[in-house]
C-alpha cells in the first residue's frame, strides 16, 4: 500500500509528498467536456473505460457528463466488483469469463448490477447459461469479434451469427450485440491509426449486418477508443465507444487528439544532483511507469529520461543554467497513464495549484 504523508486539503501542490499522481481538475473537466460534446445528439454513446484509472470518483465525473450509456467498461471482473462498491451499476467486461470460479462471481455481480460479458466459444455460452439460470439472473452477452486472425474473438461471418443465435436460445442469457476487444495500436501516425481502426470497426459492422440478415436483432456494437472516437462514433451501426484515456490523457496521445491535454502528471523530487547535466529524482520505473514508452519531462522536454527501478535520471544535453537544489520538484507526463495509474493507491486532484481532493483507486491491481 502506498504510504504518502497526507497534506491538508488546500495545500500548495509543491508541498505534497512525492512521487505522486497529480490530476489538474481544470484540464480534466475540459477533456471530459470535449468528448461529451462530441457525443451530444449522436446515436453512438460513450461508455467510459474506467480500468485505465481505477478511480470511482473520476468514473462518476465521466458518467455525469452528458451522453454516456450510463455504465462503464472494464477489463476484468475484479475491476467491476471494485467499482460496484461505489454505486456504479452497469458494467461491460471487455473479455471472456470461462472458469467456474469467475462465472460464479459474474452471476453474483449480475444480481445487483447490469453486466455484459463477451463470448467467443459455444461451450462457454453453455456454461454461462447453466450458471445464470441456476442463479436466477440475466447476463447480457456480446459476441467478441477479433481485430485480426489469432486474437480474442471470432471472425465476423457465420461463426459470429451462430454464436449470437446460441446466446439468444440460452436461458439466463440475453444476446446484446458485438464487441471488438482492441489493443492499443503501436503506431504514431494518426492517419494510419484512423485507417486501421476503420478496418476493426468494419468487422463489427459486418457482424451486425450478417446477424440482422439472419433475423437476429442487434442492440449494441461496441468498438473504438480515445484514439478514434470521432471516427467510430460517427459510423452508422456503432452504438457505444469504450474510451477512457481521454480523461487523464498521457504523452502517447498528446498532440494527436484535438481538444485533449494531459491532465495527470507525476510529481517527483530531486534527490541528487551529482553533475550539471544529470538530475536524479525519487521517481523511477516503479513510480512513473514505462511499460509502453518513456515519460516526458515537463521542465526539460528535450532531455533523455532514464528510469531505473527506484530512480529517475534526467540526462541533459548540456549542463543546465537553472539552479537545481535537492528537494526541487520535477514533473513527468507518463507515456501511458493506464500503466502508471496501476502503480498507485491514490491520486491528488488539484485546482489552481492547490489540493482539492485525494481520490482512492480501489480497482488497482484487480487482475482477477
Amino acid at each position: 500500500m502506498e504510504r504518502p504523508i497526507f497534506k491538508p486539503i488546500g495545500s500548495p501542490v509543491e508541498e505534497l509528498d512525492t512521487p505522486t499522481v497529480i490530476v489538474d481538475l481544470d484540464i480534466l473537466e475540459r477533456n471530459i467536456s470535449t468528448v461529451a460534446s462530441f457525443f451530444k445528439d449522436r446515436k453512438a454513446k460513450l461508455r467510459p473505460r474506467v480500468d485505465l484509472h481505477g478511480c470511482p470518483a473520476l468514473a462518476h465525473m465521466q458518467l455525469a457528463a452528458s451522453d454516456t450509456v450510463g455504465g462503464v467498461s472494464v477489463a476484468t471482473l475484479g475491476q467491476a466488483e471494485a467499482f460496484s462498491g461505489s454505486g456504479i451499476n452497469d458494467f461491460s467486461v471487455r473479455g471472456v469469463v470461462v472458469t467456474p470460479q469467475k462465472i460464479a462471481r459474474l452471476c453474483a455481480l449480475a444480481r445487483h448490477a447490469a453486466v455484459t460479458v463477451a463470448v467467443d466459444n459455444p461451450s462457454n455460452v453453455a456454461d454461462l447459461s447453466k450458471a445464470a439460470a441456476a442463479a436466477g439472473v440475466q447476463v447480457k452477452v456480446v459476441v467478441a469479434i477479433s481485430t485480426k486472425p489469432d486474437r480474442l474473438g471470432v471472425e465476423p461471418g457465420q461463426s459470429a451469427v451462430d454464436l449470437a443465435k446460441a446466446v439468444g436460445d440460452s436461458a439466463g442469457l440475453v444476446f446484446d450485440g458485438f464487441m471488438t476487444i482492441e489493443e492499443k495500436l503501436k503506431v504514431d501516425d494518426v492517419s494510419q491509426l484512423a485507417a486501421e481502426s476503420r478496418g476493426w470497426t468494419q468487422r463489427a459492422i459486418d457482424a451486425r449486418e450478417a446477424a440482422e440478415a439472419a433475423g437476429v436483432s442487434v442492440n449494441t456494437v461496441s468498438v473504438g477508443g480515445t484514439y478514434n472516437y470521432e471516427i467510430a462514433g460517427a459510423t452508422d451501426g456503432v452504438t457505444e465507444i469504450p474510451a477512457g484515456s481521454y480523461a487523464l490523457m498521457d504523452a502517447k496521445y498528446r498532440g494527436r487528439r484535438d481538444g485533449l491535454e494531459p491532465a495527470a502528471k507525476i510529481m517527483t523530487t530531486v534527490t541528487s544532483f551529482p553533475e550539471g547535466d544529470k538530475i536524479i529524482t525519487d521517481g523511477g520505473n516503479k513510480a512513473v511507469g514505462m511499460d509502453r514508452g518513456n515519460p516526458i519531462s515537463v521542465e526539460f522536454p528535450e532531455a533523455k529520461i532514464g528510469l531505473s527501478a527506484e530512480h529517475g535520471n534526467i540526462g541533459l544535453k548540456t549542463p543546465t543554467q537553472k539552479r537545481i537544489k535537492l528537494g526541487d520538484k520535477m514533473w513527468f507526463t507518463p507515456w501511458d497513464m493506464g500503466v502508471t495509474a496501476n502503480l498507485y493507491d491514490y491520486m491528488n486532484a488539484v485546482r489552481g495549484g492547490r489540493l482539492e481532493a485525494v481520490w482512492d483507486l480501489p480497482a488497482r491491481g484487480r487482475y482477477r
Partner: protein, 366 residues
Amino acid sequence: MDNYRPAVGTPIDQLDTPCLLIDMDALDNNYAVVAETYRDTVCKMRQHTKNIKSPRLANMQIQAGGTLNGVCTAKLSEAEVMVEGGIIDVLIPNQIVTRDKIARLAALNRLGDVKVTVDNADNIETISEVAVEQGVVIGVLIEVDTQMNRGGVRSPEHGVVLAKLAMSLPGVKFRGVMSHQSADGWPDADERMRLSKELIGICLEVKDAIEAEGIPVEMVSSGETFSYAAAAQILGVTEVEGGSYALMSNIYGYLDEFQVSNKVLGTIVSTPSPNIGIGDFGMKALSTAAAANATIEGISGVTIEEVQDEHIVLRSDGTEPFVVGQQFMLLPGYQDHMPNRWDQYIGVRKGVVEQVLDIPARGCHH
C-alpha cells in the same frame, strides 16, 4: 487493491487466476544457498526488500541464516514496513532529502536503527538538524557512484569531505560507505569476480581515503545478486545487498544454484486457432522487465507471441493443443517490478496452497 486469500490446502488447479505464486521449495532452496554461502564469512547478507516487499519473506531469510539480521530498502516507506515487521536494522541505500521525509526517518529511528546514504553536504546538515530536533541519532553512509551514473560521490576526496562533515555534526553518526553495481549478459564466475573487484574497488578506495584521515569505517555495504559470492570474498566488504536471488528471474539463469520461485499462474481463456492460446493476464500484471525473457511452464512447446495490456497471446509448436480453462505459469525475465503490482503472493508447495503472503510494501514509492 486485491485481497485474494484462498484456503490453505487449496489445489493449484482450483485457484482463481491470475495470481502471483511463490514455489516455496524453490524459495527455501534460494534461502539455504545464501545461508550456506555466508555461514562462515565476515561479510553477511543484508537482503534488499525492493524485490520482495514483504517483511515475512525477509524474516524467513533471517531465520535461515547468513544475514546480519537486517535488510535494506529502496524507500523510506518500505523501511517503515520492515520495522513494523520486526526488522530493526535497516539501511536505505538512497537519498532522503525533504524535511518532512527526514522527520519520518527520525521518528522511525526511535524504533529501529534505520540508516540512510548521502552524497551531499546540505543533505547531511538537514538530517543533523532534524535529528537533533527530535532527539535521535541517524546513521549515515556515503554513497559512492561506481557504475550506475545516478546518486553518489564521484571521488574519494568528496567522500572524505562528507565523512568529516558527518563526524562533526550532532544527530548523525558516520557509519561507512555504500555502492551498487550491475552486470549485463551472462557472466561466468571469473568475470563476476573481475567485475566485482573492479567496481567495488572504487567504493573501497573511498573507504581507504576516509580511514587515512583517522575516521573509522564500520560498514562497507556493496554487492548484489550477480556478485553475491564474489563480494563476500573481497576483503573489506562487510555486507551484500542481494535482492533478486530470493524470487529469482530468468536473466539470472547463470546462477544455477538458485531457482525461479515466483511465477504468474494464468488460465487459457480463448483458443482462436489451434496453435494460439490467449491467457488471462498481460503487461499490467507483469511489467516490461518481467515480460522480456519470460518463459512459459505447464504447457509444452509454448512461446510468448504478444503481451497485451490485459491478455497474453501464446503460440504452441503443436506438441500440446491449447484447451480453454487450462492453466499455465509464466516465469519472469526480471521480477523486480512485478511484486510491486500485486497485493498477495500465494505460497504453494507440492501442488497446494501452503500460505498466503501479503505484499505490504507494494506501492511504497515514498
